[in-house]
Symmetry: C2
Subunit: 147 residues, 2 copies
DNA sequence: TTCCCCATGTCAAAATCCTGACATGGATGA
DNA sequence: TCATCCATGTCAGGATTTTGACATGGGGAA
């Protein structure tokens, strides 16, 4: 019964593997999305807005794991490109609900196919039975760390 | 036989879960290492150098999934803090081998305990049998993406 | 009502990282 | 030998992200 840590090699640790996989995914998405004129945070933002229209800046930030300030500049970029729309003011509260424009929806749909191809490559690389377990394991780790 | 993608919900995708887990880990390490005066890339660099002394800038960059240029500034910071040493010139070749100083080794050892505690939290959050499979799955995905 | 607390949006400054580029040293093949 | 190619270290510039801070709006408790 070997203890989970410390392993004899740093590259054997879970954190290292996690970072490696995340870096590989990020790199692949970066490259694919560049051809569509989008960055990874921008794409994540569009995808989230397509699924849940009306999300605010802070909510989008939490959903994409960045700070409010970072998401703010992302939204500005998307707004300048006419991919999303956001009211200047609101009747109730302070949160400004964002929505996809028609251009945004179209752009998302074409970029999505490229991203889904990447994800399919990832998923097909592992045994089909293992996928569900992998997802729950990732969730468990994230929750354990307060993610 | 449902296709692996597209799922009905973006947050169900592997990429999203992967990013979430990686972000949670990054945040926890960030917070823990700050108390030791280290950033995550700096810690990763020290850990790699402790295991394989003499690694060059480019090798360290590949090992930590950043660019040569980024690793260069990390090394400068570590050098200014007297945590690593690097010769100004070399007899053979162009790569400059880096080594931990005594201070660097000490700093690494105390920071390591904090990081290992985080990783232990992560590992203990999932069934013990699942760990090995998780590691190989992460590797498979990374390799499939050319990581 | 009024006060306090929290969340939100935003600004400014700094830190971090990446892209593009260039010069150097070694190795490979003609 | 020499020329070409690859990897490395480094510089400059810009883009992205974060930290810190501040003002505003809403909700809850006294």
């Amino acid at each position: 019964m070997a203890p989970p840590h410390p392993a004899d090699d740093v590259t054997e640790h879970v954190g290292y593997r996690l970072k490696r996989a995340a870096a590989a995914l990020r790199g692949a998405m970066d490259k694919a999305l560049r051809e569509h004129g989008l960055t990874v945070p921008q794409y994540a933002c569009l995808e989230l807005l397509d699924e849940r229209p009306g999300l605010s800046n802070a909510e989008l930030a939490r959903g994409t794991f960045v700070t409010r300030q970072s998401m703010n500049v992302v939204l500005r970029g998307l707004q300048d490109a006419d991919l999303i729309s956001r009211p200047a003011t609101t009747d109730h509260g302070r949160a400004l609900p964002a929505h996809l424009t028609e251009r945004g929806r179209e752009r998302l749909h074409v970029a999505r196919s490229a991203v889904y191809a990447i994800e399919r490559t990832m998923v097909e690389a592992l045994p089909r039975r293992r996928l569900a377990a992998l997802l729950t394991d990732l969730d468990r780790m994230a929750e354990a760390l307060g993610g």
